[in-house]
C-alpha cells in the first residue's frame, strides 16, 4: 500500500468516524459537482495529515500524567529542561508536516481557483446580490430570475457576481464554495453540476433583518429540460427593465421565485457602473468592463 493510498483511506475514514449523523442535502458533505467534491476530499486529506501531530498528544499526555503524577512511578528530575533529540523532533515534525500540508494547499488552491473555467463554452449567469434576494441574469438566453438559479447538468457554468447593495457572500454548498459580491465590483465563480436536483444556495454575509431567510433554489436539470425551461420562461415571464430593477432595490424577502421572460441588455454592467465615482468628467457614463480576470473596480481613466 502506498502512502498515498493510506492517506486516501484515512481521508475516507475521517468523515465516517469523526462526523456522526446524517449529511444533509444542501451542504458540501453531499457534493453534486466536481468543485465541492474536491473540497470535501481535500478536507479529508488535510484532516488525516493533521492527525500526525494530534494523535501523539492524545496518546502521550495521559501516559505522562499517569507516570509523572505526584506519587507516580516516574523519576523526579526537577532540573531536566532540554534534550537535543526531542528538540529536533518537535521542530522537524511540524516543519515537515507543514511542507506536506502546504504543498497540498498550493495544488488544491490553484487547481480549484474559482476563476478557472471548468471547460469550454461555459454557461454565463450574471448574479446581482440584492437585499435579501438574488437576481440571476442569463445574457445568452435572455431570461432572468429572482431567487431561482436554473442550471443545465454537465455544462460548465461561469457566475459573474456583483452587488446592488451591501457586500454579500454567495454560495451553493453542494456545487462550490463562496465568493463575495460587492457593489461596483465584479467577482467570478466557476462551477459544474454533475447531478440533477434542487440544491440550496444562500448569502452567508449578514446584511440585515432578512438575512436568515436569504436563500434560493439551485435547480439542476438535464440540458434538454434546461432548454425547455428557458423557452417556458421566455413565454410566461414578464420583462425586467431598468425601472423594474429599481423596484427590486428596496429590501424585501422573496418567497416564491420570480421569472422574467426578458431583461434589459447590459443591466449587469449598468449595476456595476452605478457605483462608479461621480467625480471627474462624466466618468460615470463609462460602461464597466467585465473581461478582467480577477475582481476589479471599473476605474475611469479620467478623474484620477
Amino acid at each position: 500500500m502506498t502512502s498515498r493510498q493510506i492517506v486516501r483511506l484515512l481521508a475516507a475514514a475521517v468523515p465516517g468516524v469523526a462526523w456522526p449523523g446524517i449529511a444533509c442535502a444542501g451542504s458540501f458533505l453531499e457534493p453534486a459537482g466536481p468543485v465541492a467534491a474536491a473540497q470535501i476530499s481535500h478536507l479529508g486529506v488535510i484532516s488525516a495529515l493533521m492527525l500526525i501531530v494530534i494523535v501523539p498528544m492524545f496518546v502521550a499526555l495521559p501516559i505522562v500524567l499517569l507516570r509523572y503524577r505526584r506519587g507516580g512511578k516516574g523519576t523526579y528530575r526537577p532540573d531536566w529542561e532540554f534534550n537535543w533529540g526531542l528538540e529536533i523532533l518537535i521542530w522537524a515534525v511540524p516543519v515537515a508536516l507543514v511542507l506536506a500540508l502546504g504543498t497540498a494547499l498550493w495544488k488544491h488552491t490553484l487547481q480549484n481557483d474559482p476563476y478557472r473555467p471548468l471547460g469550454p463554452d461555459p454557461l454565463v449567469v450574471e448574479v446581482v446580490a440584492l437585499d435579501w434576494k438574488f437576481l440571476f441574469l442569463y445574457p445568452e438566453q435572455g431570461v432572468a430570475t429572482l431567487d431561482l438559479l436554473a442550471l443545465p447538468q454537465g455544462r460548465p457554468v461561469t457566475l459573474k457576481l456583483t452587488s446592488g447593495t451591501v457586500m454579500q457572500s454567495f454560495i451553493v454548498p453542494s456545487l462550490a464554495g463562496q465568493i463575495y459580491a460587492m457593489g461596483g465590483m465584479q467577482t467570478q465563480l466557476n462551477l459544474l453540476a454533475d447531478q440533477s436536483g434542487d440544491f440550496t444556495g444562500r448569502n452567508t454575509q449578514y446584511n440585515g433583518l432578512g438575512f436568515a431567510t436569504q436563500s434560493f433554489t439551485t435547480r439542476v436539470m438535464s440540458p434538454s429540460a434546461f432548454e425547455d425551461w428557458v423557452d417556458a420562461t421566455k413565454a410566461q415571464g414578464t420583462a425586467l427593465d431598468a425601472a423594474g430593477y429599481q423596484s427590486l432595490l428596496p429590501a424585501s424577502v422573496v418567497h416564491t421565485p420570480v421569472l422574467y421572460g426578458s431583461f434589459e441588455p447590459g443591466l449587469f454592467d449598468q449595476v456595476i457602473a452605478s457605483f462608479a465615482p461621480r467625480m471627474g468628467h462624466g466618468a460615470a457614463a463609462a460602461p464597466a468592463t467585465s473581461e478582467t480576470p480577477h475582481h476589479s473596480m471599473p476605474m475611469p481613466e479620467t478623474g484620477q
Binding site: F28, A36, M57, Y76, P78, L101, T204, P277
Partner: protein
C-alpha cells in the same frame, strides 16, 4: 425651544423601556429586562457604596491609584462584570437559535443582531483585552523585580479609557440601540446609508476608546520590560510570562493603530460624508476588511500569547519542575508574534483575489502552526520528569492542551482556501475561534486567577469549588462548540436568527446544554470567590508562596506592599526565587534599606476617563455642546497635570524596614509546608520545595537569617 440643540438625537423613545410600552413583545421585554438589570445594578452599587461608606476609599485607594497592582485588579474587575453580561447574551443566542426552527423564536431579528454584535464586541474588547491587560499589569512588574511600570499615570489613563468604553457599552443597553453589524462592523452595511441611527456609532466610539487604551498599554509595557528589569534580570532570565507580555505589547503597539484608523475612517464616512468604505463614489469596503484584519489577526495573538505565558508558569509550578525548552519557547513566541502580521488575508479568502495570493496567505497561516505546535509539545515535555499536582489551574492546562490542539487542526483546515470557501461565515468558523479563545485565553485567565489570586489578596481560593467550576466549564465548552463544527459543515451560517432545516435541531440542543453548563461553571466561580472571601482566615497565605512558586513575585508578601520589593532583588538565574529556596538564600534580610519613591495618587486618569466617556456619548447622540465641552475638559486635565510638580511621595526607609522585617520574622516563625499540605489551612504561604522535604537544613525555619548584599 430647539431641544435638538440640547439633547441631539436623544429622544424619550431612545430609552429601552419605551420599547416594551410601545411595542410589547417578549423580545422587547428581554431588552428592557437587560436594561433594568444594568440600571438596577448601577443603583445597587451606588447604594452599597453609600451605606458602607466606601465612596472615599473607592476614590482614594482605587480610582485615583496609579499602582500597577490596583490598576491590574480594576482591569480584571471590568473583565468579570462585562463577562457576566456577554455570557448571558451568548446563552440567549443559543436559546434563540434552538427555538427558531421554522419560526421566529422569541427574539426579533433586530434584537438578535444587536445581541451577536454586543456579545462579540464585549468578549473581545471588554473581556479578553481587559483580562489580559489586567493580568500583565499585576504580574509582569513583580516578575521582573520592578516597583511599577515605566509610566504609572499613563497606565491608569489606559485603564480609564477602557472603562469609559465599557461604560458606553453598558449605556447602550439602556439608551438607544446597538449596531447589528457584528463585532467586525463590515461596511457598507455599517455605513450611514444602511445603518442609520446610533448603533454603529456606539460600536465605533466604544472600540476606539478601548483601542487607544490598548495602544498606550502596549507602549508602557514594552518600555517597562526594556528598562525596569532588576539587576541581573537579563532578557533570557525573564519568566516566560514576561516574554509573552513583551510580544503582546509589541503587537499592541503595531496592531491597534490600523483598528483606530479604520474606526475613525468609518466615523468620517458616517458623520462627514466621506467615502472611504461606501458603496461607490470611490469607496471600497475591502480597504476596511484589510485594515480591520491587519489589526484583527495580530489581536488573536495579543490575546493568546499572555495566556501562553500563564500556561508556561502553571505547568512548571504544578509539575515542580523547570520549564522544558525555555529558549525554544521564547523563539517560538517571537516567531508567532512576527508571523501574526503576515496572515490577515485569510479572513477574506473569498474576496476574489488570485489563487496565488490565497495560496501564499494560506501557507503563511499554516506556518504559524509550527511554533504553536512546538509550544504545545514543550509544555507536555515540561511535565516529563515532574511531580504533577492536579490543582484547578493544572486541570485547565490539561484541558487546554487537548482542546487547543483540536482547534489548531480546524485552524489549519480553515487556512486552506478551498475549505474556507465552504465554511467561511458558517458556524464552523464560529466553533474554531471559540475553540481557540475559550480553552486558550478565557480558561487561561481563569487559571491565572486561581494561580495569582492568593498573591493579590493574601488568601487562596476554595479549591473544591474551583474544581467544580472546571468540571462545568470544560465539558460545557465541548458541548457548546463541537456541535457547531458539524453544523457549519452542514452549511449553517453564523449570525442567523432562524432556521428551516430540522437536522440542525439536535446539534443546537447539545450546544444549548453546553451553554447551560458554562453558565453553571461561571456561577460556581462566583460562588467560589464569595465563599473564599468569607473563609479568608482559614485560606490565608500571607507569606506569599502558597504554590512553591518559581519567579520573584512569590518571594514577597501577599498582598505585596505598595513598593513591591523592599530592596530591589538581584538575580543570577532563571526561576530566581526557586533557586534561592533551594540554595537556602531565600528570605534573607537585606544589608540596608533606603527611602522609596512611589508616584502619588492623582485624579488625572479618572477625570480623563469621565470626560472621554461623556465625549463619546455626545458623539453617539450628536450632542455637540457636550462633545466640545468634554473634549476641552479632557485636555484641560492633561494641561493642568503638566503643571503638577509634586507627583511622587517618599516612603521612609524605616517604614519599609519595619514592614519587611515583620514579614521576614513571620516567615521564619512559620514552618514551611510540603505539597501534601498545599490545600490545607496549614499552608500560610511558606513552601518547602518539592523533593527537599526534611532535606536541606537551609529550609528549616530558623536558619535563613543570613544577610545578603
Amino acid at each position: 425651544m430647539n431641544w435638538e440643540l440640547i439633547f441631539g438625537q436623544l429622544k424619550w423613545t431612545s430609552i429601552v423601556f419605551s420599547g416594551a410600552i410601545l411595542n410589547p413583545s417578549l423580545s422587547e421585554f428581554i431588552a428592557s429586562g437587560a436594561g433594568a438589570i444594568a440600571v438596577l445594578g448601577a443603583i445597587a452599587a451606588l447604594i452599597l457604596l453609600t451605606v458602607k461608606g466606601w465612596w472615599v476609599p473607592l476614590w482614594r485607594d482605587w480610582l485615583t491609584s496609579v499602582d500597577h497592582k490596583k490598576v491590574g485588579i480594576m482591569y480584571i474587575a471590568i473583565a468579570l462584570v462585562m463577562f457576566a453580561r456577554a455570557v448571558i447574551e451568548a446563552a440567549l443566542i443559543r436559546a434563540q437559535q434552538l427555538s427558531a426552527y421554522d419560526s421566529p423564536g422569541f427574539l426579533s431579528a433586530d434584537h438578535f443582531g444587536q445581541l451577536f454584535s454586543t456579545h462579540g464586541t464585549i468578549m473581545i474588547f471588554f473581556v479578553a483585552m481587559p483580562f489580559i491587560t489586567g493580568l500583565m499589569n499585576y504580574v509582569m512588574p513583580l516578575q521582573i523585580g520592578a516597583r511599577d511600570v515605566s509610566f504609572p499615570l499613563l497606565n491608569a489613563i489606559s485603564l480609564m479609557l477602557t472603562l469609559a468604553g465599557a461604560i458606553l457599552m453598558m449605556v447602550s443597553l439602556v439608551i438607544g440601540q446597538f449596531s447589528t453589524g457584528g463585532w467586525t462592523a463590515y461596511p457598507p452595511f455599517t455605513g450611514i446609508k444602511f445603518s442609520p441611527g446610533e448603533g454603529v456609532d456606539y460600536w465605533i466610539w466604544a472600540v476606539s476608546l478601548g483601542s487607544i487604551g490598548s495602544t498606550l498599554t502596549g507602549l508602557n509595557f514594552a518600555v517597562t520590560i526594556y528598562k525596569k528589569r532588576c539587576p541581573g534580570m537579563t532578557l533570557f532570565r525573564m519568566p516566560l510570562f514576561c516574554w509573552t507580555t513583551l510580544c503582546t505589547s509589541i503587537l499592541m503597539i503595531f496592531a491597534m493603530a490600523p483598528l483606530t484608523a479604520a474606526t475613525i475612517m468609518l466615523a468620517l464616512d458616517r458623520y462627514a460624508g466621506f467615502h472611504f468604505f461606501t458603496n461607490g463614489d470611490g469607496g471600497n469596503m475591502m480597504n476596511y476588511a484589510n485594515l480591520f484584519w491587519l489589526f484583527g489577526h495580530p489581536e488573536v495573538y495579543i490575546l493568546i500569547l499572555p495566556a501562553f505565558g500563564v500556561w508556561s508558569e502553571i505547568v512548571a509550578t504544578f509539575s515542580s519542575k523547570r520549564i522544558y525548552g525555555y529558549t525554544s519557547l521564547v523563539y517560538a513566541t517571537m516567531c508567532i508574534a512576527v508571523l501574526s502580521f503576515a496572515v490577515w488575508l485569510h479572513h477574506f479568502f473569498t474576496m476574489g483575489q488570485s489563487a496565488n495570493v490565497n495560496a501564499v496567505f494560506g501557507i503563511a497561516t499554516m506556518v504559524i502552526g509550527v511554533p504553536t505546535g512546538v509550544k504545545v509539545y514543550d509544555w507536555l515535555l515540561t511535565m516529563v520528569g515532574g511531580r504533577i499536582r492536579f490543582t484547578t489551574p493544572m486541570l485547565f492546562h490539561i484541558n487546554f492542551l487537548l482542546t487547543f490542539i483540536l482547534g489548531g487542526m480546524t485552524g489549519v483546515l480553515l487556512a486552506n482556501p478551498g475549505i474556507d470557501f465552504q465554511v467561511h461565515n458558517t458556524l464552523f468558523l464560529v466553533a474554531h475561534f471559540h475553540n481557540m479563545i475559550i480553552p486558550g485565553v478565557l480558561f487561561g485567565m481563569f487559571a491565572a486567577v486561581q494561580f495569582w489570586f492568593p498573591k493579590a489578596f493574601g488568601f487562596r481560593l476554595h479549591e473544591g469549588l474551583g474544581r467544580a467550576s472546571f468540571w462545568c466549564f470544560a465539558p460545557g465548552f465541548l458541548l457548546a462548540f463541537f456541535p457547531l463544527y458539524w453544523l457549519g459543515l452542514m452549511g449553517a451560517t453564523r449570525r442567523t436568527y432562524m432556521w428551516s432545516d430540522p437536522t440542525y435541531l439536535p446539534w443546537l440542543a447539545l450546544a444549548m446544554a453546553g451553554a447551560v453548563l458554562i453558565l453553571t461553571g461561571f456561577a460556581l466561580m462566583v460562588t467560589q470567590i464569595v465563599v473564599s472571601v468569607r473563609r479568608r482566615a482559614q485560606l490565608a497565605a500571607p507569606l506569599g508562596d502558597p504554590w512553591d512558586g518559581r519567579a520573584l513575585e512569590w518571594s514577597i508578601p501577599s498582598p505585596p506592599p505598595d513598593w513591591n520589593f523592599a530592596v530591589l532583588p538581584e538575580v543570577s538565574s532563571r526561576d530566581a526565587f526557586y533557586e534561592a529556596k533551594k540554595a537556602g538564600t531565600a528570605y534573607r534580610s537585606p544589608a540596608g534599606y533606603e527611602d522609596i519613591e512611589v508616584p502619588r495618587n492623582t485624579a488625572t486618569a479618572p477625570l480623563i476617563g469621565l470626560f472621554a466617556c461623556a465625549w463619546a456619548f455626545g458623539l453617539v447622540w450628536q450632542i455637540w455642546w457636550l462633545v466640545v465641552v468634554s473634549f476641552v475638559l479632557m485636555w484641560a486635565v492633561v494641561i493642568a497635570r503638566s503643571f503638577a510638580r509634586d507627583t511622587e511621595e517618599t516612603i521612609p526607609a524605616a517604614t519599609v524596614k519595619a514592614a519587611h522585617e515583620a514579614f521576614l520574622a513571620a516567615v521564619r516563625a512559620t514552618p514551611g509546608v510540603t505539597r501534601d499540605q498545599e490545600m490545607t489551612a496549614a499552608n500560610r504561604g511558606r513552601a518547602i520545595p518539592e523533593g527537599l522535604e526534611g532535606g536541606s537544613g537551609a529550609l528549616s525555619s530558623d536558619s535563613a537569617v543570613g544577610v545578603s548584599r
